[in-house]
């Protein structure tokens, strides 16, 4: 057998064990539809002249996670090409965005740094390099290359701290971006993930698909939250010490006052602690968008459940567009500090859900009756208290909070469903329960989806191998420690409930719509095996800290 025969079998074995050809037809179609009539720029391998910058005339605007294209600019300072900057398309969806750009005069050295500005409906090229900035004088939403959609509050400013660059046949592309939030609050949303960050935080974005490692951003976001919770804990402890026992017993944890009648465009349910900030949310838009998006989302998921289904590009784009409108409201949620695990945790807080539900039903012409309103107000009151309690508790690992929140919200959504009429239920869940996380905006799948990372695996050992490699890279484990971690994960994921349902078509699709309950089950086991690792494996304080702050749920997808 010669070397090429050997290679053929090697490639075939890889394919047989999971490395399969994806369906690239939608990706090709999108690239074809969106590219400009100009050649793709390439790096010459041995340039005689050394232009500082080469700006692509082509801007392939990303439309969908994993399906779009971003482009590009090359920066060289020596005969060996050293890529330091890459141009990324910014498509402004709402508001106004300004960024560091560069002259398109490619052979001037060094290039003049120029500022580019764009308003809704236009696209500009952001020259991404360390220290380069994007800023928004007013609330804005924009699509950043293939990295996803970013929504910011007024006067937000982002700075590139780091980036990874990959090169394909001379075409240079940014594969990950680490942005520091210099001012303001941002949320970042792709079809499969979302992150939120405030001033001083750092967020790491990956181009296309699910990011391999967004731990830095997650750490930063969680660090901020932990600090805030510790502060709240201290204050609450002091309050309790000051308060007479009888007062403590009679004071509800949360006071939620229902207005006499729900209004179409204002909050139907309120809470004094968040009232001012939540009043800034455009609930009428939340309702209208949710009403419009719900059936589209259901249709998208339904389409993906079919064997060999392709991502329906039109539906996916529609979902992204509508989702962008919802995301415009998220900064206000974050500013209100509504408790929740990440941005989607705040979005699924009972108070927010109840208000969104009221405005959605209003938009659908099925407003709540005063009896329903009263009943919902009672539920919101009780579950908000529970949400606050969960947020205030200490958690050995951050995912503990997500698990507790999910279990609480599952109960809340069930109780809420009982209060609705069949017609209203149909508006919220058109076509009934889909059985997939993310198919409805009114269940905990929304939060689960933001944190899940599916991993195809044949058995617990296979899964443990993949997870351990990732953990090893992120935590810096030595070989002996790696083996111990692998063994714990193998044992910790051996439960039949994780492996009895083979991965469905929708789960293996580009959009990764996982079966309802799969992520939650994986989360429950992950919390356990993470605790076991902390207890049984000798880790450094830094490694323990990183592990504890991990916010991804690693979900086995049985092959």
């Amino acid at each position: 057998m010669n070397d090429w025969d050997d290679r053929a079998i090697d490639a075939a074995l890889h394919e047989l064990h999971g490395s399969k050809a994806p369906d690239l037809s939608a990706r090709v179609l999108l690239a074809l539809q969106e590219e400009q009539p100009a050649p793709l720029p390439t790096l010459a391998s041995t340039p005689r002249r050394l232009p500082w910058l080469r700006v692509a005339a082509v801007l392939l605007v990303a439309v969908l996670v994993g399906l779009g294209a971003a482009l590009l600019l090359v920066h060289r300072s020596s005969p060996q090409p050293v890529v330091q900057e890459v141009a990324i398309a910014i498509e402004v969806l709402a508001g106004e965005v300004a960024c560091d750009g560069a002259s398109v005069d490619v052979d001037t050295a060094p290039p003049a740094k120029v500022v580019q500005r764009a308003t809704a409906g236009s696209t500009i090229a952001f020259v991404a390099g360390r220290g380069r900035r994007i800023w928004c004088p007013r609330p804005s939403t924009f699509r950043l290359g293939t990295f996803g959609v970013i929504t910011v509050v007024r006067d937000s400013e982002l700075e590139v701290k780091d980036m990874e660059i990959s090169k394909v046949q001379g075409v240079v592309m940014a594969s990950s971006l680490t942005l520091a939030v210099v001012a303001g609050v941002i949320t970042w949303q792709s079809l499969t993930r979302s992150e939120a960050a405030a001033t001083g935080d750092v967020v790491t974005m990956s181009a296309g698909g699910a990011p391999p490692a967004a731990l830095v951003a997650e750490n930063a976001e969680l660090r901020r939250r932990v600090d805030e919770l510790e502060r709240q804990n201290r204050e609450l402890s002091l309050d309790r010490e000051r308060q007479p026992v009888s007062d403590q017993a009679s004071t509800p944890a949360t006071t939620v006052e229902a207005p006499p009648a729900p209004a179409a465009s204002s909050m139907a349910f309120s809470d004094p602690r968040f009232a001012d900030a939540l009043a800034k949310i455009d609930w009428a838009t939340m309702g209208a968008v949710t009403h419009e998006m719900t059936p589209v989302l259901a249709e998208l998921v339904e389409a993906m459940t079919k064997e060999d289904a392709e991502l329906p590009v039109d539906l996916a784009i529609k979902v992204q567009q509508l989702n962008s409108k919802l995301l415009e409201q998220v900064p206000a949620l974050l500013a209100a500090e509504v408790p929740g695990f990440g941005a989607n945790g705040s979005y699924t807080h009972p108070l927010v859900v109840a208000n969104t539900l009221a405005s959605t039903l209003q938009a659908a012409g099925q407003p709540m009756t005063s009896t329903q309103h009263q009943r919902l107000a009672g539920l919101v009151n009780a579950f908000s208290a529970e949400a606050q309690s969960i947020a205030d508790s200490a958690h050995e690992v951050a995912l503990d909070q997500l698990l507790a929140e999910t279990e609480m919200k599952d109960r809340f959504f069930t109780e809420m469903g009982v209060a609705l009429t069949p017609e209203q239920t149909k508006t919220i869940h058109p076509g009934g329960p889909s059985g997939y996380d993310g198919a409805s905006l009114c269940d905990t799948g929304v939060t689960m989806r933001a944190h899940m990372q599916p991993i195809e695996a044949k058995n617990p050992a296979d899964f443990a191998g993949s997870v351990t490699r990732t953990l090893s890279q992120e935590l810096g484990l030595d070989e002996a420690t790696e083996q111990k971690v692998r063994d714990i994960i193998t044992r910790g994921t051996a439960a039949d409930e994780l492996w009895r349902d083979p991965a469905a078509a929708a789960e293996l699709s580009q959009a990764h719509f996982l079966r309802a309950g799969r992520t939650k089950t994986a989360l429950r086991h992950q919390v356990q095996w993470m605790r076991m690792i902390r207890q049984q494996v000798q880790l450094t304080p830094e490694q323990l800290k990183k592990l504890g702050k991990m916010s991804r749920v690693l979900v086995p997808l049985p092959r």
Partner: protein, 172 residues
């Protein structure tokens, strides 16, 4: 080849779906990573769709796509990953593997042949390809050095190749 200058989404998707697996597989055979193969397949189809319309048979289209993909792959290196004199050998290796169906049948045979490997070789294949363990890790489990693991895997692949060839001959 489908008339693509009318560029309907359906015709583009049909064309890509008809040929993408074979093109992707051929790139993996040359040594491209899965991610690089994805990107190069996309570029290859874009090249075809941008080019002036030429009426080709499906087989000629497939051959054209594989050649363009191979050229893209070679261009992604500073130095060619293989000598041009090797091209005949590469093509022969690919044809032997892919047959008339782009390699689908070979994969089916490979799966069956895996069951026939001796236990030790099968374990090595499983640890390397399925669990993606390092040679050192596999060696520790099998009591071999890294070179020993490398040899064991190569022998396993040779055995698999022989088994596939035998199956094809017997069927013929």
């Amino acid at each position: 080849m489908t008339e693509l200058r009318t560029i309907t989404a359906d015709s583009v998707q049909a064309l890509v779906r008809a040929h993408q697996v074979e093109v992707w597989r051929s790139l993996r055979y040359l040594g491209a990573s899965a991610e690089l193969a994805d990107d190069l397949v996309q570029e290859t189809f874009l090249r075809l769709l941008r080019a002036p319309f030429v009426d080709r048979s499906p087989a000629a289209t497939a051959a054209w796509l594989r050649t363009v993909a191979r050229n893209f792959y070679v261009k992604s290196f500073r130095r060619p990953p293989f000598a041009s004199t090797e091209l005949d050998k590469i093509e022969a290796g690919w044809n032997g593997f892919a047959g008339d169906d782009g390699g689908d049948d070979t994969l089916v045979r490979l799966r069956a042949c895996l069951e026939k490997l001796d236990a030790r070789a099968r374990q090595a294949v499983q640890l390397h390809y399925e669990e993606r363990r390092s040679r050192a890790d596999i060696g520790a489990r099998l009591g071999l050095g890294e070179d020993g693991v490398k040899s064991l895997l190569r022998r396993a692949r040779a055995a698999l190749r022989t088994c596939i060839d035998r199956g094809q001959r017997e069927e013929a």
